[in-house]
Amino acid sequence: MNSKKKIKTTCSYCGVGCGIVAEVNAQAKVSVEGDQEHPVNGGMLCSKGMNLHYVVNDTSDRILYPEMRWSRSHPRERVSWDDALDRAAAVFKSLIRKYGPNSVGFYISGQCLTEEYYIANKLTKGFLGTNNIDTNSRLCMSSAVVAYKKTFGEDSVPISYEDIELADVFLIAGANPAWNHPILFRRLEKHKEKNPNVKVIVVDPRKTDSANFGDIHLQLIPGTDIILYNAIGRRLIEMGFADDNFVKDHTENYQAYRKQVMETSLKDAAELCGITVEEIKEVAGLIGNAKGFISMWAMGLNQSAIGTDKNFSLINLSLLTGKIGKPGNGPFSLTGQPNAMGGREVGGMANLLAVHKDLANPQHRQDVADFWGVDGISPTPGYTATEMFDALASGEMKAVWVICTNPMVSLPNLANVEKAFANAKFVVVQDISHRSDTVAYADLVLPAAGWLEKEGTMTNSERRISYLAKGINPPGEARPDVEILCDFAKRMGFRGFNFTNAEEIYEEYCAMTKGTNIDISFLNYDRLKNEGSIQWPVPEYRHPGTPRLFADKKFYTPSQKAIFNIPAQIQNTSEKISAEFPFVLTTGRIRDQWHTMTKTGKVARLRTHYSHPVLEISQLDGYIYKIKEGDVVEVKSKNGVVRVRAKLSKNIRNGVVFLPMHWGKQLENDLNRANNLTFTRVDPQSKEPDFKYTTVSVTKYQKPKENIIVVGAGAAAFRFIQNYREHNSTDTIQVFSKEPHPFYNRVLLPEYVTEELTWEQLQKIKEAELSKLKISLQTNLSIEKIDPENQKVTDSNGVEHSYDKLVLATGSRAFIPKDAQLDLPGRFTMRSRGDADKFKNYLDSTQLPSETQHVAIVGGGLLGLELAAALQHTNVKVTIIQRASRLMERQLDLVSSHLLSLDVQERGIHIYFDNEVSTVFDDPASKSLNITLKSGKIIQANAIVYAIGTQPNIKIAKENGIICSRGIKVNKHLQTNYPNIFAIGEIAEFENQLFGITSAAEEQAAILANFILGDISSTYSGSVLMNILKFKDLELCSIGDIIIPENEEGFEEIVFTDLSRRYYKKCIVKDDLLIGAVLMGDKSEFAEFKSLIENKIELSEKRKSLLMGSSETRPVIGKLVCSCSRVGEGNIQEAIAGGCSDFSALCTQTGAGLGCGSCKTEVREILNNSKVKV
């Protein structure tokens, strides 16, 4: 058997349908690359597709077993498949018996394979006796479906991707293919690069990457699309660009169209749309003169209360100019889901029948019923997506079966969806991932097989059917969806579900298509496997497929003519903005995420481009509403509220705001969920929700004024206060510092002792700056008691202080061995300025020249070593007594620890390993200390410094009912068991771990400040441990896990050494993630490695060049632009400043755009902007 196998398949994300070659190795681990031979992508993949293997290989989130609640009062528990499906069948039977078939329904997905879609429809419409089956495609493109049907007679996309290379004018309307259909957009870009005469017009209220790329950007007012396209139509007619022959011979209803477009003058139209008359004229001129005109659109038109009418007005431009049925011409709807089209072919919606048959037509219903061998099909259309959840909420529907979609994030007005689930009697969720928010509402959870774990077919947005092979087994007890559905159908007692595999289902469907306009009766699995993907129809033996429809100008309407459909109104019917809700909210996707992030959210490198949800708002609106970049804002509609940070943008129209729609609940909090706000208003024809138009208000989040008490004045406290004050100047902040000196850099104490640094240099903040922070600072005062119930603390003077929020940042104290007599002279620790001053004064008081002084340091960790090095610098003789057998033994590995000890000893510092201090006696004769080691050695020294380690100061917390273990237990918001008490820094124990390093303290402090300020997406997930030794002429640091655990698989060690030069580098890689590194001699890669480890960025190509020298590896500077090659805005600007002004050269030089290319427009914009400045 081959240890590796290659499987040709199709990407499971958007409707572009890129070919993928997946490789499965002996360990069943998957890797992917673009299929070089595939006609769609020719080997290219976008950032999402090229990371698909991470989604497959990481099964940590997968649903592995059926889980069920035996009643709503039961907890959900694991059950057998038999128990699960028997109960489901019993529930469905009993509900149908009592309440009729319309009391149940299926809500499925455009990600379902055609076979799954077919079976679910056959089951529901044929056997359950209801048409209550709808899909998330309803949210996506049902407006386009209605428009196609009404224009051409059937839901048939007329053109192919290959028409892109044949067209010269593109009108992209309400779509951002640069982000959402990247590979398609790359074809367009390439075509334009080769043919500079090609013109791209983009219509969008936001200046998206696609708009940046376009020649003309019409930044219209949301909802005015029909007015715009009608105005373009009017201009085309006036300029004589209408194709009179085509209109006369092959269309109907032209006069009505002409009448409507002539009703509005160009001037009025321009005004209503918020653009200029010249722009309308220019666009009309381009379209009229085009040899090939393609319009492309997506959610910007579809997701609207007048979505179908918007579609009509756009498609009418193609009819008017006769630019259809010819190469390089046609209206082209872009689909967001991989198999939205396949679903429609098999009738996967509440108002459709299989093979494009019409539910309203009794003959069609009978044809389908006969084919399935059932008496009849219900004539009543089923509930569409939003109607279904309304019916659940009202009790008309009792049970819903959700497959492969996450309505708890994706549907509009989520409060209503929540109510629907609560009110439903029985909710089945069939999915692959626990990451889906909907799982939490399920009475029955069924684990399904995912991509590459099952076989079947899909149809992409150019009617291309492709076969997806199975490559690996699903995890746990998960089963392919068709198997689950057929098993259920059999338990319901239905015939006609005895399929042994997906191919038999496909064949049944193919037989059904015979003689229809979507005939694929001559396309079987064998052909798909051997010849690759093929475009329907395939009506004859060996038929090569059909790239373009309507070449004969015969449409599927009764008259065989295309129909001009007249929008019922030209004005948007959505609710108008008002004084209360003055903004229009539009929602949408971001480049590296897809849908509700159950898959893409698992891949760390996809999270960096746009890591958390923000509200994009224009700079002018920001100014008017006093909202600064990064402020927490509250967005309200009549349905709900969202709280996120604001991002001021010059790319969005004034009066319009944008929220990404991907995010669901964060730690039980739903304030990041865009669909809290959206309305359930739908287009009356397509029933598609009006996602792109919600009237909202935006205000800076006004937190009630609070009194915050901070205990401690170290690094964590300082960072907290500073971050807090950046966004809030009204709360009072009281700081209690036990030490007389607040806010200094403790780790620099060794240099302070030796006077290499002055006290001022250690201070984190100067007096003047401190006063700007407006805090009330009490030094020399500690907090002795906390009363969490009454929210009060008592200070060491016995004074009580009330608080609204209490932040504990008490840090840690030096660990002192039990027998150390610190009260006697000559014995020290080194933790505070007081310690340092005492030590310094003591050494001064010996009045010995520094060369003759001798200091013994107990402990060979960071502090001990740095103190030793500092003292040694002033020629003091230093001896280190180390209990362990090597230096920094937790932070370094054997080799680096050994090299370090060589270096230290060469500096003249003595080290005793495996040694402990036995006794320390004063030697009155020499006025020094006699230190006896347990090994018998006696050292004479002037002073001994204990630098062994630290212990967190958690006494007051522990004594006052705050749950502690080693430190104070905190959750992701750094909250203790009392919601108003927080702990940060060395005392905070998160997930059983303490992080005793400054960088962690600062990270926690920043996160806490944001959280208290109202940003609920601000959560802590632990810090990567790291250590940097500050020696003047030795670079040494370690980050993360530097030791490979024994007997564990999947770890790789990459080492580079030059021992004589004390040059040593080691990287530890696990599952394509860098998890640890030691850098000695040169730590220029520190920042980069740290971010790779912290962000858990999959290494991918970078793996090969990890240690190949720093020229290959440079840190990301500024905002991340290219997530494939990891290039930042700063890197690009640097290259431009260095004289690189050619776009292609810029890409090659920086690496940006060399991967999926979806960032190319962004790169180009950076280049353009830099040119302007010059």
């Binding site: 009062s73 907890p75 209990r883 937790r890 495996d914 040694n915 090994s935 018998g936 050695k937």
Partner: protein, 480 residues
């Protein structure tokens, strides 16, 4: 006081050269010229032909054989830095932990790293075994009256080990019978930073390591193991060794449970000094593995004789026993076994006058030859001494055959979950269940309402079938 045999407690089997030297001087003062090592990493003073006298000591605890319940703490400090280890369990960590044990324990305490094979894990009454989580330890308890080790249901924090061991000792008079009971008592007695056990202890299998001679570790460091065939170590040599340690800035000397010494951290430049020392005293550090992997009861002549007989047989027939360990015992307390193969000597049968009855032996081996399984399988019983060599060779062959083979994934050592069977009422129509313990929130029925107590108007919460459509049923809960 007069005695012929004493033990010097060496906490964790680690001491500094200065301390060893002082102990050697005490032994010398008592007229001894050799010392021995015990299997709990302690030092033994043995005088075979008469008594000796020792002054009471402040610094060292010297225990006469009559004294009961003063046990040494065993630790795997000896293996750190030279054998594989749990990453967080570094050598200094052992020292900090041992330092916490201020009072002399009366129970046997083991503090070990499961990733090494030199120090047995389960031979104590209280066995702390490092977990993967930094500063947390599994605890396996086998109180003196218990038959087997039981896992304590929590992980113990490093800084609680001494406190917890003391708490257990204080509770002995309560005679707890199960570890759960002990757990409750301990928690009543004090506050501990426990952590829940998230996965069972996994002890990776390593073959028994070679522990003698000068061996390289790291780039320029060596460790040295010393083994004496008769466990009689010359005091004058050991004193010279202590001095050399001090010259080389070596801080610690470790004792193994195999009655040998290990010195770590010998730096390259001193290696020659050590070779010279060995040469000068004529010390052999090239013993065959055939004899290193034996564990015998202290000062048991017949056991030594038996071992010699068997080892020479192996030697003659060129048999390899690498990776295995052998133990000879007179008693049958399986809980104390920690070698892969055990030669158990049976009690002689009732002695008939003048007839000398030959002893018989049993052979046992640990499951998979891994003593950490704590499971012993009887191979043969009551065989004659002359049959032992061939039987042992057979066993070694079995060992080598199974070595490296795919092992059945061992059953998780946690006790099998009892199948939960629950009685409840189920709707015949839609299979919805009414369970007394949950009640029915949708109809305002609180938890713990019995089915009988439901009102007659009660109906199925899902399909609204009447109360009469519910039938009593037993449910088997699926394991999570």
């Amino acid at each position: 006081m007069k005695q012929t045999f004493s033990r010097v407690v060496v906490k964790g089997g680690v001491l500094s050269p200065a301390e060893l030297k002082q102990i050697l001087e005490i032994a010398e003062g008592a007229g001894l010229d050799t010392i021995s090592f015990g299997s709990r990493q302690d030092i033994l003073f043995i005088k075979e032909d008469g008594d000796f006298e020792i002054d009471p000591q402040d610094k060292f605890q010297i225990i006469s054989p009559e004294e009961e319940g003063a046990e040494n703490i065993v630790s795997s400090y000896v293996s750190s830095d030279i054998l594989s280890n749990t990453p967080w369990l570094t050598s200094d960590r052992y020292l900090y932990i041992l330092e916490q044990f201020r009072a002399q324990p009366t129970l046997k305490i083991n503090i070990t790293d499961p990733r090494q094979r030199l120090v047995p894990l389960f031979t104590g009454h209280i066995n702390f075994i490092a977990s993967e989580h930094e500063d947390y330890w599994y605890l396996y308890v086998r109180l003196p009256h218990w038959e087997s080790n039981q896992m304590y249901p929590a992980l113990i924090y490093s800084w609680d080990l001494a406190k917890l061991a003391a708490a257990i000792e204080d509770l002995l008079q309560e005679e707890p019978e199960t570890v759960e009971f002990l757990f409750d008592l301990v928690n009543d007695a004090g506050d501990f930073n426990n952590r829940t056990v998230d996965k069972p202890l996994e002890v990776p299998f390593h073959p028994f390591p070679y522990y003698e001679g000068i061996n390289r570790v790291g780039s320029d460091s060596y460790w040295m193991g010393l083994y004496w065939r008769n466990n009689k170590y010359y005091i004058d040599f050991l004193k010279a060794l202590c001095d050399l340690c001090s010259d080389c800035r070596i801080g610690k000397i470790s004792i193994t449970p195999w009655k040998s010494l290990i010195i770590k951290g010998i730096v390259e430049k001193y290696k020659l000094e050590w070779e010279k020392l060995l040469g000068k005293y004529g010390i052999n550090v090239r013993h065959s593995m055939l004899e290193l992997n034996w564990h015998l009861p202290v000062n048991n002549k017949s056991a030594i004789k038996l071992k010699k007989y068997l080892v020479s047989y192996f030697d003659k027939h060129d048999i390899s026993t690498y990776g295995l360990t052998f133990g000879i015992t007179d008693y049958t307390r399986k809980a104390y076994y920690f070698t892969s193969i055990i030669i158990e000597k049976n009690e002689p049968a009732i002695q008939l006058d003048g007839v000398k009855i030959r002893s018989t032996y049993n052979l046992l081996h640990a499951k998979n030859f891994d003593p950490n399984t704590q499971e012993y399988i009887v191979y043969v019983q009551e065989v004659d001494k002359s049959d032992l060599p061939e039987l042992l060779i057979e066993l070694s062959k079995i060992y080598f055959e199974q070595l490296g083979q795919e092992k059945n994934v061992p059953e998780k050592p946690t006790k099998p979950k009892e199948q939960q069977i629950k009685e409840a009422y189920q709707c015949r129509e839609c299979l919805t269940v009414y369970d007394t313990s949950y009640g029915d929130l949708s109809q305002g029925i609180p938890a713990d309402t019995s089915f009988e107590d439901l009102p007659d108007t009660y109906h199925c919460s899902l399909c609204e079938a009447p109360k009469s459509s519910f039938v009593k049923k037993k449910f088997v809960k699926q394991p999570e």
